[in-house]
Symmetry: C2
Subunit: 363 residues, 2 copies
DNA sequence: CTGAAAGCGCTTACAG
DNA sequence: CTGAAAGCGCTTACAG
């Protein structure tokens, strides 16, 4: 609401025009036009890949562009287009590994495109959350935004973006929107894979630690898990399901509660690796050996899965790959579709078996 | 070298001018000028906090600005200023937690300033590294850049930035440049703290696992450690120092090597938490109990320090705080100096004692 | 203290 | 297929 402080204009001391050595000014569209003997408008057409340029003319202009290493000024282009060449990543996610992997994936998909990535962490619970998003998108005239969970699951954000006409991609565990706005992670499949693995090991006393209700993935992972259990005739009691917060600490607390019960579960599926690591900690405190006394399975396959002892059996999610696909979808729908035809991209999770899971103890 | 593909112009289908509901166009400087009965130049003076505006005029204009929620278009302003309001973070750092904390800190320091953060991970070993940095900075006309380690330690980058006249802040463990370009982390102090803690526990057979030589922090942490040891009459032999790569896996490998020796070290100081976690893993494989048989001390105090067993005694570094200071220094030198006077910001590391360190075993 | 003119480097209409 | 004019929303010189 209150107007933000504005940046001061750049100070002009210490910086003689053009710097010390790299003083040769960069070419502009006017330079290229003059050099190629055409109007700037025709150069503009070449830049924007307009079909209405004679091949010969195009080639001449492209040669001059290449010779001078000309690249159009994104700021000027943006001003004229009324839209910047900036892509925003708006997120509220507690996991650094997820955030970094997602950023890397988006950058993978943007490489060589001339776009840049502007990061915008936020707090979905803040009373100014929506206003903040709106200000960010409108003021920067973002080309588009990518929304990972749980921001992706906020219908108010999607509605806002539609209203102000900003392109967006939602990354979520399930199809929440029109296909052109979605990259789907299919967390449900991952939950099912975890269930089958645990069942294959002979476990019957099984517990599930859910993520927070505010994340759709919590429900999907649980849903897939329960469904696959049901296929083999096993039903989880309400008491077999307890809720964590996707954090290590909540994993410890949930583990403490579960492992104090009689009878004790012989296998615990945690909604993510952080919580699974917490369960490992809890088992150690209880004097339990993993996997001899207890099987623990996580979800995500982030680094922590390999840093704990024993290394976690977990469900791998291709976060970076998903990011790449999101960026490509946002930037260039046509090219993406062609690519998908010949190289169908996978966003499905896969089971990774390590040492935290083993046969059910013989009673 | 080869010109990048250019973004396509925004497609005009599906998006009727002005969106669905938020269709009222945002006010421009012309609107404000007309409404306030002044020229746009005078509005511009108010925006840029020029002192050459009569108080009465200023107040009238500010009232109109507030009433209309006007905010100048950063793209247009940037085009006229020949400089954007974008701040770049250029980094090549393997630790997601560090990257995310640094980003959060930069954002803390930028909040309400009207600047935005553009992230630019890179590969310092790439043959096109310097050219990439140059292209990024020049094409986006960045207002300034922040360089965390190890990019901050690359003198070629600093030289380049000076040449093209781009403001920059280097974050490093030691003063590498003029004070106005530096935020210093004083890793040396942290190394000394680790040494004193280990000595206080009675250890004499001590080993050090260094980070990669390409990180200045590796040398500083080691230097502080050795100096504090020397103060108490202890000198590390060359064989007591081995080199890792700041990764979990390298920590395991170095731990394996160290723990196979006779006599075995009773305390290991690892250059960061990842490697310390690796040593823990290695100790477990060797059947050693921590801290009864072996003391392990890390550096950084990232989340992994608390997720492993036993939780790591480590040296806490205020990464996010350092990021905040870097952004503030870049954006507004004057305000920063005043703030530092009354609230001297600390960037020094501090010892955090947890359960991976204990008295030297009685022989 | 204030303003009219020109310009930043592009693109959008509009002609031809 | 190509171009001259006007404009995107600001700021920089330059006057007064």
């Amino acid at each position: 609401m209150n107007s933000p402080k504005l940046p001061s204009p750049p100070s002009s001391d210490h910086e003689p025009e053009g710097g010390l050595e790299g003083g040769r000014k960069r070419a502009t569209i006017n330079d290229i036009a003059r050099l190629a003997g055409v109007s700037k408008k025709t150069v503009s057409r070449v830049i924007n890949q307009s079909p209405f340029v004679r091949d010969e003319t195009r080639e001449r202009i492209e040669a001059v562009i290449a010779e001078w290493g000309y690249a159009p000024d994104p700021q000027a282009r943006g001003l004229a287009f009324r839209r910047s060449f900036l892509i925003g990543m708006i997120y509220d996610n507690p996991n650094p590994q997820y955030v970094v992997n997602m950023q890397l994936g988006l950058l993978d998909g943007m490489r060589g495109s001339g776009f840049e990535l502007v990061v915008h962490p936020c707090n979905r619970a803040s009373p100014t959350f929506l206003a903040d998003v709106r200000t960010f998108v409108e003021r920067q005239k973002l080309y588009g935004v990518v929304l990972p969970p749980s921001v992706s699951e906020d219908e108010r954000v999607a509605k806002l973006l539609n209203e102000i006409g900003c392109a967006y991609i939602r990354i979520a565990s399930v199809e929440l929107d029109k296909p052109e706005h979605m990259i789907v992670g299919h967390d449900r499949m991952g939950g099912a894979q975890a269930a089958r693995h645990i069942l294959d090991l002979g476990h019957r006393r099984i517990a599930f630690i859910s993520g927070p209700a505010t994340f759709r993935s919590s429900h999907e992972r649980r849903g897939g898990f329960e469904a696959a259990l049901a296929e083999r005739g096993l039903t989880l009691q309400p008491s077999d399901i307890i809720q964590g917060a996707y954090t290590f600490e909540s994993g410890v607390a949930c583990g403490d509660e579960l492992l104090a019960r009689t009878p004790r579960p012989t296998a615990i599926f945690a909604g993510n690796d952080e919580m699974a690591a917490g369960v490992l900690q809890s088992a150690r405190k209880a004097g339990l050996s993993v996997p001899a006394d207890l099987t623990v399975v996580g979800f995500d396959d982030f680094q922590i899965a390999q840093a704990v002892w024993p290394p976690l059996t977990t469900i791998h999610t291709p976060t970076r790959e998903i990011g790449r696909m999101a960026a490509e979808k946002l930037i260039d729908a046509e090219r993406r579709e062609r690519r998908e035809e010949r190289d169908p991209a996978r966003t499905e999770p896969t089971l990774v078996v390590r040492q935290s899971s083993g046969p059910a103890p013989v009673v």
